[in-house]
């Protein structure tokens, strides 16, 4: 079974807590800004915000080491910011500009960074899961001790390719952590209307993959679970499943009438379980961190986010010729009429 790390929640230092606060706040403010730019018509098409789920990626990034990989779905802005990608490049991809991570080719759902070992945003539900297993295969092949965080949603957990991946990952003992971000809804379909079990992490059992349910609104619980999973994978014991219970506050995408849940349900979550507020309260209950310090951080983040928005507005639109680039290594000429 998974090795348990001895660190207890109480042992987390204020500095560490502060860094989680900062990272989560960056995601929240970035997403709020993206929502605004969308409203202003600067971002078009599909755009899925991560607000409410910040503790998941921030907690798991805290358990990751240099060289570990991550891959996720279309709800990917938080993952990119948490692994250190530049907010400017992310925002400029949202606005479809040359300065975006995919030069405006990918949009909100499709960005990548070799430097940060971020293997993308993927728009097709579940499609990234076997890719994550493949990345882990490559790590095992190279014997480099790295692990891959393969994120997917509760809805994606019903795609057949997820279970093909489970089998292969278990069969070949791949160092992959399957992270189910269970925000309890797949678009307008709640988990109970689409999923045969309310314990998705147990679906690994028949494959021999250990799994656990984690409180995804508490960044420290996520981090500790992440450390258990990472230790398991690094030891060579094969894959591990983390089902992280979380909640998205906003609609599925920007065009979601949200008729499938009550406003009270969302309100209750925000008021009682908000991951950022929880950390904030903890920080202020101690002696070392003052309101002023938090205000300073708020200000710093606001500046980063505003700068990203400015960059995303100012970066030029891609040139027409870009339509035909990056399709093959060597361009195949086509007639343009």
């Amino acid at each position: 079974m998974a090795a348990r790390k001895t660190t207890k929640k109480s042992e987390v230092s204020p500095e560490e807590m502060l860094s989680y606060y900062r990272d989560m706040l960056l995601i929240r403010r970035f997403e709020e800004k993206a929502g605004q730019l969308y409203g202003m018509g600067l971002i078009g098409g599909f755009c899925h915000l991560y607000i409410g789920q910040e503790a998941v990626v921030v907690g798991l990034e805290a358990a990751a080491e240099e060289g570990d990989k991550r891959i996720t779905s279309y709800r990917d802005h938080g993952h990119m910011l948490a692994c250190g990608m530049d907010p400017k490049g992310v925002m400029a991809e949202l606005t479809g500009r040359e300065g975006g991570y995919s030069k405006g080719k990918g949009g909100s759902m499709h960005m990548f960074s070799k430097e940060k070992n971020f293997y993308g945003g993927h728009g097709i539900v579940g499609a990234q899961v076997p890719l994550g297993a493949g990345l882990a295969f490559a790590d095992r092949y190279k014997e480099n001790g790295r692990v891959t965080f393969t994120y997917f949603g509760d809805g994606a957990a019903n795609q057949g390719q997820v279970y093909e991946s489970f089998n292969m990952a278990a069969l070949w003992k791949l160092p992959v952590i399957f992270v189910i971000e269970n925000n309890q809804y797949a678009m307008g379909t709640s988990q109970k209307r689409s999923t045969s079990t309310d314990e998705i992490h147990k679906r690994g059992e028949p494959f021999g993959i250990p799994g656990e349910m984690v409180d995804g609104m508490d960044v420290i619980s996520v981090k500790e679970a992440g450390e258990r999973a990472v230790a398991h994978c690094r030891k060579g014991d094969g894959p591990y499943i983390l089902e992280i219970k979380t909640y998205r506050y906003r609609g599925h995408s920007m065009s979601d009438p949200a008729k499938y849940r009550t406003r009270e349900e969302v309100q209750k979550m925000r008021e009682e379980r908000d991951p950022i507020e929880q950390v904030r309260a903890k920080l202020l209950s101690g002696k070392s961190i003052t309101e002023d310090k938090l205000k300073e951080i708020d200000k710093e983040i606001k500046e980063i986010v505003n700068a990203s928005a400015e960059f995303a507005k100012e970066s030029p639109e891609p040139a027409v010729e870009e339509l035909w680039t990056d399709i093959y290594a060597t361009e195949i000429p086509q007639e343009v009429n």
Partner: protein, 337 residues
């Protein structure tokens, strides 16, 4: 007659089919409780019960596969794949099972199933929400493929498809759901409210599969189009001032070759339009057929105007979309020839 959007017309067809035959069942992601992401099935679950209109998990392969089994038994499943871009996991079931059940059982078992999919671009959906995969279906013996361009046809064709004894792929141009779109993306969007074809017959009627529709008579050349491109074609013809005949194919397979051949033999010139990429696109098939049928009447080579051979772009949608300007250039070229 009643005023309807294409969404309402499709919903009306579902309602009438379900009233007429208890064996008609409607299934897909978010189609029940939520009423479909485009609202095409809104109210059906309430009216006909959860047994007959139900939500599925995000499991495209499983959805279509179970529908094939249901159809083999004798039910008439009407399946919604949320976007045509999500059908690839189901493609195996469509090709290997649905299309061939009749053939390999020597007619003992059949697959009277309809798979509806929103198709095409113009909504800023980028590479995973804009594709036009019709040629992947017309290439498969055993499937019928339909693409309506307006509410009146959408209703009649869908009723005919549901009543058809064979599997029908029903591609709904999502850009046309709420109104016609002629490719002038910078003009205010139109609604079906004022369009003649937003006037839909009430009650049950079928528009037979395999009948094209001459939507504008002309003598100088023939423009063949389907779906959104019908409206682009009409706009381009008006703007060009050339007396071009425009034919809405409506059904790609079976194809109404008689109507096409009669027109092209008369005009001697022909252009085929589609949003889908050019190479091995449906236009290639039509061009070859015309060449065979009308060789001695042709005054110029048959032209194709289609999407570039690239993935559907994010930032550069309107550089990709084959709009009226490109169609007008093609009209000028074919008239010179």
């Amino acid at each position: 007659m009643a005023r309807m959007t294409m969404i309402e017309a499709i919903r009306d067809a579902h309602t009438l089919a379900m009233e007429a035959d208890d064996d008609v069942v409607v299934m897909g992601e978010d189609v029940g409780y939520f009423g479909g992401v485009f609202r095409c099935t809104a109210g059906l679950q309430k009216r006909f019960g959860v047994q007959r209109c139900f939500d599925t998990p995000i499991s495209e392969l499983g959805i279509v596969g179970t529908a094939v089994g249901m159809a083999a038994f004798g039910l008439k499943p009407v399946v919604e794949i949320q976007f045509a871009d999500y059908m690839y996991p189901a493609y195996d079931q469509i090709v290997s099972e649905a299309a061939r059940l009749r053939y390999r059982s020597a007619g003992e078992f059949t697959c009277p199933m309809v798979v509806r999919m929103p198709t095409g671009g113009g909504i800023f959906g980028a590479q995973t929400h804009s594709q036009s995969p019709e040629a992947l279906f017309t290439h498969v013996a055993g499937l019928k493929t339909v693409v309506p361009s307006n509410p009146q046809d959408a209703k009649g064709l869908l009723l005919a498809a549901i009543n058809d004894p064979d599997p029908v792929i029903f591609l709904e141009p999502k850009r046309l759901y709420n109104g016609p779109f002629d490719g002038h993306f910078d003009r205010p969007s139109q609604s079906w409210g004022k369009h003649p074809l937003g006037e839909v017959e009430t009650g049950y009627y079928e528009t037979p599969l395999g009948t094209a529709n001459i939507v504008r008579e002309g003598s100088a050349a023939t423009l063949l189009a389907y779906g959104t491109m019908v409206h682009v074609a009409l706009a381009a013809v008006e703007e060009s001032g050339v007396d071009v005949e425009v034919i809405d194919l409506r059904t790609l397979l079976p194809l109404d070759l008689e109507t096409i051949a009669e027109s092209v033999s008369r005009t001697g010139r022909c252009i085929v339009l589609h949003e889908a990429t050019l190479t091995s696109g449906y236009g290639a098939e039509v061009t070859a057929l015309i060449q065979g049928e009308c060789f001695y009447s042709l005054e110029a080579p048959v032209l194709r105007v289609a999407g570039w051979d690239t993935p559907y772009p994010h930032a550069q949608e309107w550089d990709y979309f084959p709009g009226p300007e490109r169609v007008k250039r093609a009209i000028a070229t074919v008239m010179e020839g």
